[in-house]
């Protein structure tokens, strides 16, 4: 028998952080820039909202340095909804993360969508009570973020493009390598650890379980209900939608349609029904036309 659990309550443990990520599975997390959009997102069935000043499509258009949002904006959104509120800090900017924690956000996204603050180090996420989500393009990156204390991994995709191709590439890379790892000989795991630049203990763990030790969500380029169904069928456990909702013709309807398509991702007839007559999706961008690839940020 393991030791009896202590009756003294403990906050900010890894179980508690990961637990919130688990509760969001099967849902849609929506980017919102004000309280009004947050209400629309909650009404549509969002499991959480991501508070930020500009959606990625606008950050991409405007250029310059993108930073943490004004606390007033985050507080306004917290007051408007009852679902969890997430907010973004720059990669490596632990002081922005401390501010977000002090504001009581439910999850911090250490995000490549903002301009990185540190070119070598990510935030030491074990030092925080608030849980963190981090982006990843491949399994090694995902395991490095988990070793730093991330309680959720999301694909980076290519934010603000309305083009799902990069998110698919990242999910296939992470999930494909997980499948290959389960076939590896114990001696080969050292080679894998070296190649992935990830701790051997974590490599051994995922080789045994076949899945990451935290939930894997999809982000970056989701614009339609069918996009959501696609990434869920590929193995994502929930979906982030950034610019895809509020850059479309009818955000309320599209938001709801993506929520339903995520919940019923295997039901093509339902995805067809909710996709019908949604109006224009956000304008998309081909990868070859981009000046800045956000997914290349982070190390």
């Amino acid at each position: 028998m393991p030791d009896a659990p202590s009756p003294v309550p403990a906050t900010g443990t890894f179980t508690v952080k990961r637990g919130l990520a688990d509760m969001l599975r099967g849902g849609v997390i929506m980017d919102v820039v004000d309280a009004e959009q947050a209400k629309i997102a909650e009404d549509a069935g969002a499991v959480a909202v991501m508070a930020l000043e500009r959606v990625p499509a606008d950050i991409r258009r405007d250029g310059g340095v993108a930073r943490m949002s004004d606390p007033a904006l985050i507080e306004g959104i917290q007051a408007a909804v009852t679902v969890p509120v997430m907010a973004k800090a720059r990669i490596g900017h632990f002081a922005e993360a401390q501010v977000l924690a002090a504001l009581g956000v439910d999850f911090v996204d250490e995000s490549e969508v903002l301009t990185p603050a540190d070119e070598a180090h990510h935030i030491d996420k074990w030092a925080f009570t608030v849980p963190f989500v981090c982006g990843a393009t491949n399994l090694g990156e995902a395991l490095r973020r988990i070793s730093e204390g991330a309680a959720m991994i999301r694909s980076k995709g290519e934010a603000g493009t309305g083009n799902v191709v990069e998110a698919v590439r990242h999910l296939r890379s992470i999930l494909g390598d997980l499948r290959r790892l389960t076939q590896a000989d114990p001696a080969e795991l050292y080679g894998w650890a070296k190649e992935l630049r990830a701790p051997i203990e974590l490599v051994r763990e995922v080789a045994t379980t076949g899945r990451l030790p935290v939930p894997l969500f999809c982000a970056g380029g989701i614009a339609t209900p069918a996009d959501a169904s696609l990434v869920m069928q590929l193995g994502a456990e929930a979906v982030f939608v950034g610019s895809g909702i509020f850059k479309s013709d009818d955000p309320a309807r599209r938001a709801r349609a993506i929520v339903e398509a995520t919940a019923h991702y295997e039901d093509a007839a339902l995805v067809a029904k909710v996709s019908t007559g949604l109006g224009e999706a956000m304008p998309g961008a081909e990868m070859a036309t981009l000046d800045v690839k956000l997914a290349e940020r982070g190390w």
Partner: protein, 204 residues
């Protein structure tokens, strides 16, 4: 015997795994037809506002309300507790309340994620060691009806919430404000499985 797990959103997989550990093959429920022939249903953790919307859009909500009113055994954790309660404070006006257990609950009653916690919990009905209890943005049970049996309350040292009911039972309905499915301790799921068996035999 067939137990269903409402699979519209939330930590469905953990409940299915917990029941599998006890030898029960659980069936995910996403459509009204999938409720047919169930001996019991689990309402998992998740986001109760999202679950409310999806219960309505899928048509599962009305069917499930009928089944619960007819006495279908149910087990709800966290968001599942909120859905099974009679009265919800700080919820949305369109939030679904099945009213299967007479209690008033306050959503996110302990606060935001920073206040989420885990602790050992004495549940005398489960016997032995305390159970590991993980509370994630958990609902606070403010009041319970006379027919509700309180199986556990929060220990002293949990601040303003100390003494609040966190595991309750009324007839064939069991609810927990925490997430037994997130730990390896299967005793509360076992209690529910036994309740379902009992209920099935008395209906024969």
């Amino acid at each position: 015997m067939t137990i269903g797990v409402l699979a519209l959103q939330g930590d469905v997989r953990e409940h299915v795994a917990a029941l599998a550990d006890l030898g029960e093959a659980a069936r995910p429920v996403r459509t009204p037809g999938e409720l047919d022939g169930l001996d019991g249903v689990v309402l998992p953790g998740g986001e109760s506002t999202t679950l409310s919307m999806l219960l309505a859009s899928s048509g599962v909500g009305d069917e499930l309300a009928g089944a619960l009113a007819a006495g279908l055994p149910a087990f709800g954790t966290c968001a599942g507790l909120i859905l099974l309660a009679t009265d919800v404070l700080d919820g949305r006006p369109d939030q679904r309340s099945f009213g299967a257990i007479t209690m008033t609950v306050r959503r996110n009653g302990y606060g935001r994620q920073a206040e989420s916690f885990e602790c050992g919990l004495d549940v005398p009905a489960l016997g032995g060691e305390p159970v590991p209890a993980v509370f994630i943005r958990a609902p606070v049970v403010e009041a319970v009806g006379p027919d509700v049996e309180v199986l556990a309350t929060l220990p002293a040292g949990t601040g303003a919430a100390a003494g609040r009911p966190v595991v309750c039972r009324q007839g064939p309905v069991v609810v927990a404000a925490y997430h037994p499915e997130l730990t390896g301790d299967r005793r509360l799921h076992q209690l529910f499985v036994e309740l379902v068996k009992e209920h099935r035999e008395t209906r024969r």
